[in-house]
């Protein structure tokens, strides 16, 4: 399948607390994620900013929330066009760029995601995920041996 399929839009509100928590719990102690005075006056930023681990976590969550707990993430690529600061509503706009059916119970999805704040794209992402789209749930994508899994990832050009 190669035509784009739109996925549901999800929202996430950024607070000072969840930006700080995302950074601290990902063991990222850099002050630009937790110290407003430092972020503004030392780093020339508008406020503290979301760290890349938290952003990656939210991207992965978007996909696993949609396709279920068996979803295996193979690759995530994303940029950060604008700093993501507190008190913003992030909108996740996803679409399936391509679906490659590897076997009866494994499809590799190539997903595009744009994160918007007030219609402005602040981050764009591409994700490769292995999913089982059938009613049969005997073989989880997680059961695929690592070497084979890596070969699937290598074959897809994001």
């Amino acid at each position: 399948m190669s035509s784009k399929v739109a996925l549901p839009i999800k929202k996430y509100f950024t607070s000072v607390k969840n930006i700080q928590a995302g950074a601290i719990f990902s063991r990222d102690w850099a002050p630009l994620h937790s110290n407003q005075d430092w972020a503004v006056n030392k780093a020339n930023l508008p406020n503290i900013i979301m760290n890349n681990y938290t952003l990656n976590g939210l991207l992965i969550k978007y996909v696993t929330d949609l396709y279920g707990d068996a979803t295996r993430i193979g690759k995530v690529t994303f940029d950060i066009k604008k700093p993501i600061c507190p008190n913003e509503t992030l909108e996740f706009h996803g679409s399936i760029n391509n679906e490659d059916k590897v076997s009866d119970e494994l499809s590799l999805l190539n997903i595009n995601l744009d994160i918007k704040i007030s219609d402005q794209i602040v981050s764009s992402a591409k994700i490769i995920a292995g999913v089982n789209l059938t009613e049969k749930k005997l073989n989880s994508p997680w059961k695929i041996e690592a070497k084979t899994w890596k070969s699937y990832i290598d074959e897809i050009d994001l």
Binding site: N18, A21, G22, F25, S26, R27, D28, W29, L32, K42, A43, N44, L45, I49, N51, N52, Y53, T54, N56, G57, L58, I60, K61, T64, D65, D69, A70, R72, I73, G74, K75, V76, T77, F78, D79, I80, P83, S140, P141, W142, K143, A146, W149, K150, I153
Partner: protein, 167 residues
């Protein structure tokens, strides 16, 4: 402008120059704190009886792979080892005190589980000419990081794109 790069920087391109070892073992309490912060309820991070159907046991949130080699902010017996030492080394040598991540590419090969010990090595892939951005004057660089578990199996790999800059 590339010629203006110090020799100690150009000689790093394409070579593994720093290694990080795990300051802590992977722990479910730590990844569940992160999952709580982003409100990720996926049972493979939380619920053993559900996880066993897919991954045999609970697994760490994949987004945390780089976090397992981050040192403590404070430790009673030693000074902190900076994560991404190569990034901080570049900032120091190039006199660019500030840095942000501009792009990330990360691949996941093996799940990371409770008790795993993650290490990594870092390689400078490229560094740009001097640029002027809204944040200030600086350079872009790309660092490849390969992550291993305690059995020296590669569990993932990422390319980190940075902007190092001064106000």
């Amino acid at each position: 402008m590339q010629a203006e790069l110090p020799k100690e920087i150009t000689k790093l391109i394409g070579k593994i120059s720093f290694k990080d070892s795990s300051p802590i073992l992977v722990q479910k309490g730590l990844w569940q704190n992160f999952c709580s912060a982003i409100e990720d309820s996926n049972p493979i991070y939380w619920n053993e009886s559900e996880a066993i159907k897919h991954t045999e046991e609970l697994i760490a949130h994949p987004a945390l792979l780089p976090s397992w080699v981050h040192d403590f902010e404070w430790h009673p017996d030693r000074t902190k080892v900076q994560p991404m030492q190569l990034h901080f080394y570049l900032k120091e040598v190039l006199n660019l005190p500030l840095g942000i991540v501009t792009e990330v590419e990360i691949e996941y090969y093996e799940p990371v589980k409770d008790g795993d010990e993650i290490s990594s090595n870092q390689k400078l892939l490229s560094i740009s000419d001097l640029v002027t951005t809204k944040l200030g004057k600086g350079r872009y660089w790309v660092i490849e990081v390969t992550y291993f578990n305690q059995e020296e199996i590669i569990v993932g790999k990422q390319n980190m794109h940075f902007l190092g800059y001064e106000k």
